[in-house]
Symmetry: C2
Subunit: 228 residues, 2 copies
């Protein structure tokens, strides 16, 4: 287990960062804790386990997943550097309702429960930021819910690719397992592969090895809205 200096606070950009509203004292308290290294594929926490703190992605990429029928994996969201994971269960005081798994080698900072709760109570602005994050998660989940219910897989994959493009912006291309992409839009690997292949033939995307590069975003937008 490699230990790295925490850089979470720096990763989160400007006023977007949850940490931007902390006092120097509070910031220091958070930064005392060290990041831990997680290998690709390694779980950060598991559905139904008891929360120990909030995780802040310092580097890497993490999928937040929920187990569905047939043991299939629904990906709720993908957390990037600067993102937080696991705070909802801490606030509610119940077990995790989802798992978090590194999908790239990652370094992730743990803010222990006690410290997080302290911050929540001490710092109203911080609390409000968290509440806004919660609201965003609701919007996100409810939009996704509606999409999965009524939008065909083709439209959902087009949409997912556009969203992923932002998450992977610095890399210029999307490196996600076909299986994870499928989990993200609620379908199976094979269906995802077939549709990606269609997109390639339609010159909407390019594929290098395994990673996807969008070359015609407008085309994808059109497909993703095709059924509105």
């Amino acid at each position: 287990m490699k230990l790295v200096q925490p850089t979470c606070a720096l990763k989160a950009k400007g006023s977007q960062s949850l940490f931007s509203c902390l006092t120097p004292d509070q910031l220091e308290k958070v930064q005392q804790h060290t990041c831990q290294f997680y290998k690709k594929g390694q779980p950060i926490f598991q559905e139904e386990s008891v929360p120990t703190g909030v995780f802040c992605i310092s580097d890497g990429l993490v999928k937040v997943t929920k187990l569905g029928s047939n043991g299939k994996e629904q990906i709720l969201r993908i957390a990037k550097p600067g993102d937080f994971v696991g705070y909802k269960s801490l606030i509610k005081g119940n077990r995790y309702r989802a798992s978090a798994i590194a999908i790239e080698d990652s370094s992730i900072c743990l803010i222990p429960k006690a410290i997080f709760m302290e911050l929540l109570h001490e710092n109203v602005a911080f609390y409000q930021q968290i509440v806004h994050l919660l609201c965003d998660e609701i919007d996100n989940a409810e939009s996704k819910l509606t999409d999965i219910a009524y939008k065909p897989v083709r439209g959902r994959i087009a949409e997912a690719l556009l969203l992923l493009d932002k998450a992977f912006e610095d890399k210029e291309q999307i490196t996600l397992t076909r299986e994870d992409l499928a989990g993200l839009v609620g379908t199976v690997k094979e269906t995802a592969i077939r549709i990606i292949s269609e997109f390639k033939h339609e010159k909407l995307i390019e594929i290098n090895k395994r990673s996807i590069k969008i070359i015609n975003p407008d085309g994808l937008v059109k497909i993703s809205h095709l059924y509105d």
Copy 2:
């Protein structure tokens, strides 16, 4: 427009109620406002419109919906007496992301934005309750998301009936349009009807006129978990 004395605070039971943590002063401020009557089918607010306050269901039943592809309607949740609707958009300060429509004749109390925000800032316990509601909504949406992604319609309808049974407990039977039931589980009217009909033949439910009564909950539980 009939005006009725507000009874929201009473409808919400015991410590479950959001109002239970208000001071007498605050409670009075809330109760000054009168309920408004909404006929079955009448909208309370519409997706994309600007919030004016929080709605508290005093009597009746309200569906919270989101428009999906093909103009199909996804029902996010059904609000009962004592439930609140529309607070998320107020907190985030954006437009409604969903519509609310009365599915029974209802009387609904509007707590104006200014008063709600005042309560939020004055009363930490109240704020915390709201935050817990937000967390519950996330859990709810994410579970539903996972179900719709991977659980067959049959399982989802079984599950929905079990959940609705609680919402309709005092009535002893479920009175919901087949179309609304379909919207709740993310399918179309006809499919919902066929599955309900199966359940009837399998002696899991009974149907009087249009309303559904569960006679074998365990059977439905089994079906709803069939694909876990």
